[in-house]
Symmetry: C2
Subunit: 122 residues, 2 copies
């Protein structure tokens, strides 16, 4: 996985979409890391892609949340051929199990140390 | 943090809500672990609580997604006094920064190794 700046994706003005991907990996890398890096690059090219939060507990659950401006942006990302190939390989090799929840964000807010109040975007 | 079975929360029948909480911690535990365990117990008591996915990259980003049947369940959880106290202490001590995205799940699906096809709940 590439180095991520350690900061959560900031709230955007609702409505926007969050695609929650939760997974448990199989043992070993099996080329996963390289493909994951490539996918993180590719998704940046999708118009309407707003950012991605990625976390994985070692040996445990991984949770990735991709944020998109609208359904069209999600559709475009789903249609990318290299992405489809990666999903297929994920089912064949990389994932023991996963779940996907596609959700429309209705409100969001953030906190940053040193700032007096929450910034609400509702 | 308590031991979680290493499996993603399964899709529920939409619509339901996903509350995405992304955070960067301050250094040290400062009582965080004990409170986190308590919160994980407490939220189970909320009618309409559907489950929680938790992942944290060591030294990096944490992503927690709580699933709720409806807005009322979220409101009820937000009103729990011990939860409010924990949130307040989180801003004072535990979190460098965080973001919250409250989103209505429109569709979801899952994959489990050994099963031929995705189970769609749309």
């Amino acid at each position: 996985m590439s180095d991520h700046p350690v900061a959560p994706v900031a709230p955007h003005e609702p409505p926007y979409y969050a695609v929650v991907f939760t997974s448990v990996r199989t043992d070993g890398d099996n080329g996963y890391g390289e493909t994951a890096d490539r996918m993180e690059e590719l998704v940046q090219e999708i118009p309407g892609f707003l950012g991605m939060d990625i976390a994985r507990t070692p040996g445990g659950l991984g949770v990735t949340v991709g944020y998109f401006r609208d359904e069209d942006a999600i559709k475009e990302w789903r249609a990318v051929l290299d992405h489809r190939a990666a999903q297929s390989r994920g089912r064949a090799e990389w994932y023991e199990r996963y779940a996907v929840h596609v959700a429309k964000v209705e409100r969001s807010y953030a906190f940053e140390r040193g700032h007096a109040v929450d910034e609400g975007v509702e």
